[in-house]
């Protein structure tokens, strides 16, 4: 028998290691995002618009703006992150990529964790950079800005991961935007409360670390449990 060019069927075929597979999913998502810069900047522009409208609607007086700054930064960040969640699985579900993930022989949980990480890098991390800037324009002292950065950075991890459950659950629903927001509300409210609290304490010069630690706990909860739930929801949607 002549040996043909690869690929041939080999028993016990060597598989891509799980970490490498997750890295491929992440690099794929980043590459795809940069091919569509419009979708990429959409949540960031949304955040900027919300943050700009508040001073116009309330008052340009900085002494009053600094009081609402934590709330504005966090509500805007939360909504922007929610806006981007709608795209998390949508395209992959349409073109059959999610199906191939589920049939890849790799852990679907691991692949979805990589997707959530990509979502956070593309929305959460940029929002963490924009957050302190918005707080500063609202009159927050420069000394408080690192705390705003850290709290949004950690809080957005929790938002991306806990939000992925809702995104997976609404995969079969047409025009799922509103349902997704409602489903995610119970997960996002604690993040909003402690995130805004940390920012407020930092602006007032009080110790903000405990609130950030709680945000960190929620992020860890998200990293460990959300991909499992999302994977189960994705499997149901594929049926």
């Amino acid at each position: 028998m002549t040996t043909q060019a690869p690929p041939t069927i080999v028993p016990g075929h060597p598989q891509t290691p799980a970490l490498q597979a997750a890295r491929l999913v992440l690099s794929r998502d980043l590459r795809l995002a940069f091919r569509r810069p419009g979708e990429l900047v959409q949540p960031l522009i949304f955040f900027a618009i919300v943050a700009t409208l508040f001073p116009l609607a309330i008052t340009p007086e900085k002494s009053q703006l600094v009081v609402v700054a934590p709330g504005v930064v966090w509500v805007a960040a939360l909504l922007a992150s929610l806006l981007a969640l709608e795209f998390l699985y949508r395209d992959d579900a349409h073109d059959g990529s999610l199906e191939q993930f589920a049939l890849s022989g790799q852990s679907l949980t691991g692949l979805l964790l990589a997707k959530s990480l990509g979502h956070w890098l593309l929305t959460g991390a940029p929002l963490a950079i924009m957050g302190p800037f918005a707080a500063w324009t609202f009159g927050a002292p420069v000394s408080a800005l690192p705390a705003v950065f850290i709290s949004v950075l950690i809080g957005s991890i929790a938002l991306s991961l806990l939000g992925s459950i809702g995104a997976a659950l609404t995969l079969g629903v047409r025009r799922s935007g509103v349902l997704l927001s409602v489903l995610n509300l119970p997960f996002t409210v604690p993040v909003l409360i402690f995130g805004a609290r940390a920012t407020q304490q930092a602006i007032q010069g009080i110790d903000f670390i405990p609130a950030v630690q709680l945000l960190g706990a929620m992020a860890i909860l998200g990293i460990t449990l959300a991909p499992l739930a999302a994977a189960a929801a994705v499997r149901i949607s594929l049926e």
């Binding site: 690929p7 075929h13 590459r31 890849s104």
Partner: protein, 217 residues
């Protein structure tokens, strides 16, 4: 070595026993049973809505069966779903390609997720399906037939023993259809198995064991 591999492969068996599946109040799969060994092709035909795709998805483990079990090499696939999927390649109605990536990039991610790949292997698989300059263009700009060819290239690259194909010849020209036939023949000659849902008879040469199953609606 080749002989031993072939022997190993022909031991591979896909079996389904009394598969039942409901969609709402429609009883789609009504006690389907099948057995397929290495070197055999199962051709699924049936009118639209007869349950060809549903059966393929149930065999893959994507759809949950109300009753019945699927066995791969004697083992219930639900007991080791990851192991089963590592041996399985499923290509559905639509080629699972990202519109914004080129065929090369698509294969790198889609197949690379499963097995280590070199750029040369991807190129030779694309050569096999007669992809010329369009392998550098985003999939968005390709015709349906060209996308189908990219999916076929991915299929060969996976190097897995079990193929499940849903309408693999859709949108292909005559040359493309005979390419599918050649690929299937080469696959089973290596000891692979294939379950293929089609509307028209596959033009497989008589040397290959072709089983036929007609699903009634």
């Amino acid at each position: 070595m080749t002989g031993r591999v072939r022997e190993f492969m022909s031991n591979r068996v896909l079996a389904g026993e009394g598969l039942h599946l409901w969609r709402g109040d429609r009883h789609i799969l009504r006690g389907v049973s099948l057995e397929l060994r290495g070197g055999q092709i199962l051709q699924l035909t049936g009118s639209n809505g007869a349950g060809k795709t549903t059966l393929l998805r149930a065999l893959c483990g994507l759809a949950y069966l109300e009753e019945g079990k699927v066995f791969w090499c004697g083992e219930n696939v639900r007991d080791n779903l990851h192991g089963f999927h590592a041996d399985l390649a499923y290509v559905g109605h639509e080629p699972p390609l990202k519109a914004d990536l080129t065929p090369r990039e698509n294969l790198r991610y889609w197949v690379g997720m499963r097995r280590a790949l070199t750029a040369a292997q991807i190129d030779s698989a694309l050569d096999e399906v007669a992809a010329d300059e369009w392998r550098e263009r985003p999939v968005r700009t390709l015709s349906a037939g060209q996308r189908r060819r990219v999916a076929l290239a991915g299929l060969t690259l996976m190097g897995v023993p079990l193929w499940m194909l849903d309408e693999p010849t859709t949108n292909l020209d005559t040359a493309g259809q005979s390419l599918v036939t050649r690929m299937l023949e080469a696959h089973v000659a290596r000891g692979g198995l294939a379950v293929v849902a089609v509307h028209h008879e596959l033009g497989i040469s008589s040397a290959v064991t072709l089983h036929r199953m007609v699903l009634a609606s």
